[in-house]
């Protein structure tokens, strides 16, 4: 898994993007993406933010075939 760094000697080494530049994007879009994943993978299963069965029934096949626990 780990691919440890080698001291950058060649000109091919990429300059890392600073964590400060990534942070605002990661916080806002990371959360947004996780909310999307929640609605596809888990809403109206074990937990429900919206009442009823509509979301669960609509994404039912996708949820099974993406490997989420469905019912």
């Amino acid at each position: 898994m780990a691919q440890p760094a080698v001291p950058a000697a060649g000109s091919s080494a990429i300059t890392p993007i600073s964590a400060k530049a990534i942070a605002p994007w990661a916080v806002f879009f990371g959360v947004l993406m996780l909310v999307l994943l929640y609605f596809v993978g888990a809403e109206q299963g074990a937990t429900a933010l919206i009442s009823g069965e509509g979301v669960h029934e609509w994404v039912h096949d996708g949820r099974h075939l993406l490997g989420f626990p469905c019912h």
Binding site: W25, F29, A46, L65
Partner: protein, 251 residues
């Protein structure tokens, strides 16, 4: 590099995720749907309580529009998150170019987010799984995903720390072995569920689970390749034009 390239990579990650989702959708439709239908047919011969009366969404809609919504939204969201991870990993995990970094992150995502949790809590077709335990099964599935991802991140950090002392190969092996041991302990100590009915065909269960693996493998493979290509195109021109800019400023 600045936040403009983060935005550029995020947009491309979501686009690559959408393309990957389209490939995964084709696999899900052609490999998976027949197994879902077969499982639902078995479910209906045994009990009539599922769905209770009128159908909210017809089977046809579930297998087409519903399936497409689920897989494509998953692709875009997973692609966006993976793109942010690649943004951070670029230039930090060794001397890998954009394409190799994207491929490594996609491979790591398939392994840690899907394969490792799947080996403990495999996907179940309709008719398999006790509705009374859905809360517990959902919690443990997401716990396993979180544990796997966090341990993989820890393994990368520890591997980087060990590299100066052990060398790259041995440090990577040691960190990988540590990941496997801790995951093995989680497999051993977290509760398991065996809720497959006695008369549910073993071959159908196997084929269904293999199709879910095919869907995820397709998604992450296509994502890694497409996103790697797009990332290379964003970052490579900057590297190529940099020397000429220097040359211009000299004039």
């Amino acid at each position: 590099m600045n936040s403009i390239s983060v935005r550029a990579l995020l947009v491309r990650g979501m686009l690559a995720g959408l393309i990957a989702g389209a490939f995964a959708l084709a696999v899900a439709y052609f490999l998976g749907e027949s197994r879902v239908d077969a499982a639902i047919a078995l479910e209906e011969t045994h009990s009539h309580d599922h769905g209770g009366g009128e159908e909210l969404v017809t089977r046809t809609m579930q297998a087409t529009g519903g399936l497409a919504t689920g897989v494509l939204v998953f692709g875009v969201a997973a692609g966006g998150i993976a793109a942010l991870v690649v943004c951070y990993a670029l230039g930090r995990i060794g001397r890998f170019g954009p394409r190799a970094t994207a491929a490594l992150i996609a491979g790591a995502a398939l392994l840690t987010v899907y394969v490792v949790p799947f080996l403990k809590y495999p996907a179940n077709p309709p008719a398999v799984g006790n509705p009374d335990t859905i809360g517990k099964r959902t919690t443990l599935f997401f716990l396993m995903v979180a544990l796997s991802v966090l341990l993989a991140v820890a393994a990368v950090i520890i591997g980087k720390r060990l590299a100066p002392r052990l060398g790259n190969w041995n440090a990577t092996t040691a960190a990988g072995a540590g990941y496997v041991v801790v995951i093995g302990l989680a497999y051993a100590f977290l509760p398991s569920f065996d809720e497959v009915g006695k008369d549910f065909p073993a071959s159908l269960l196997w084929e269904f689970r293999l199709s879910t693996l095919a869907v995820q493998t397709t998604l992450w493979t296509v994502f890694g390749l497409v996103f790697g290509y797009l990332t290379e195109r964003v970052l490579a021109p900057a590297a190529r034009t940099a020397p000429s800019r220097v040359a211009n400023s000299v004039h």
